[in-house]
Symmetry: D2
Amino acid sequence: MASSLGELTEHVRAFAREREWERFHTPKNLAMALGGEVGELLAELQWLTPEQASAVMSDPELGPRVRAEIGDVTIYLVRLADVLGIDLVEAAVEKLEEAGRRYPVEAARGSARGIPSSHDIG
Amino acid sequence: MASSLGELTEHVRAFAREREWERFHTPKNLAMALGGEVGELLAELQWLTPEQASAVMSDPELGPRVRAEIGDVTIYLVRLADVLGIDLVEAAVEKLEEAGRRYPVEAARGSARGIPSSHDIG
Amino acid sequence: MASSLGELTEHVRAFAREREWERFHTPKNLAMALGGEVGELLAELQWLTPEQASAVMSDPELGPRVRAEIGDVTIYLVRLADVLGIDLVEAAVEKLEEAGRRYPVEAARGSARGIPSSHDIG
Amino acid sequence: MASSLGELTEHVRAFAREREWERFHTPKNLAMALGGEVGELLAELQWLTPEQASAVMSDPELGPRVRAEIGDVTIYLVRLADVLGIDLVEAAVEKLEEAGRRYPVEAARGSARGIPSSHDIG
């Protein structure tokens, strides 16, 4: 059982290899699969009010469904990164540090508008 | 510098807290942000042929762009999981094990059609 | 200037042909492009409160941006439907009629939960 | 039966009103629903080879599924545009004309690289 990101990566890699599905796991196909799973996640939350969404994990029916979609998104992201040879955590840290330079704490906090632009973190 | 998923999660959490952006990081908003970043990833690959896409990380201009988008997707996925209280790796492993039961190796490999259904892994 | 969906379809078709971009407009590529543009639309709205989002078209900066993304999504949806030989309005009407049978007015309105499932209309 | 975009718009509007679903049809929710449906469309095509995808509408099982997803995407795009007060065709034509100025025919066709940037049309 994988308990770390590296083990999960190997687990997904082996899963694909055992079933001879590697030929389907091209970068474009995996990006599309990632889009499909994020779509399923959006669908689980789309009609909820902000309050219902914030409490969704306590809902006995919706909580497991959201958890399942998060799991699916993670599987495909890990697989895509593996196929592309990208270290997920390193790539994320680089973007976060870049965002930190673009939005230093004082300026971001004191912003009159208060709304991050769509690209504040990513 | 985060070198593990747990450290990255804390890093993103602190990033949001320092800038007082926590009020924007609701589950619905973060799911939308994740959709936006996956969209940017799709956009980087959409016009490439399968061959060009497979070699994209060697392209001096496109490689870094794809890496950046993967970083952004990871940041928002990690943040969303944190806000929802979901362990990404555990959720992924559960889905993978469930998929393993649904598609045992022998059956999946010997499939005449050879194409995984859209929900084979996730 | 196109004023109907049919004219828009021809306009987009000619646009692609004149630039010899037809070879890029495969179903998978166009679906990815559609995903990319919907992602950009999500990004414009993601940090807005529900109130801000409802008034977004009155915002002198955000209104035009949202309109632009809606325009882009429409272009790619029209192009994809054209390439696949699908009549957008007919396909939509069929799904709407199917949804009408699945969710007859009396039952839908009287629902205690009051929340459409994620697949109520689509 | 709607045979034009305007009639479809009214049809979807009435569908929502009759079921008292208008309160769910906020701009953010509808954008999320659009993301969900585009995700379902991506999922139908993701594992297909380019050749299989180009012939998908001839496939007796996949053709109707793709048509259904295109129908769903259209329903939500039309509904979102209606709620925002945007004329879909006008917004698309404006973007197309802008793209035409950015990528005049001679320059686009003669491009050595031959690949449109991710934002060529949209």
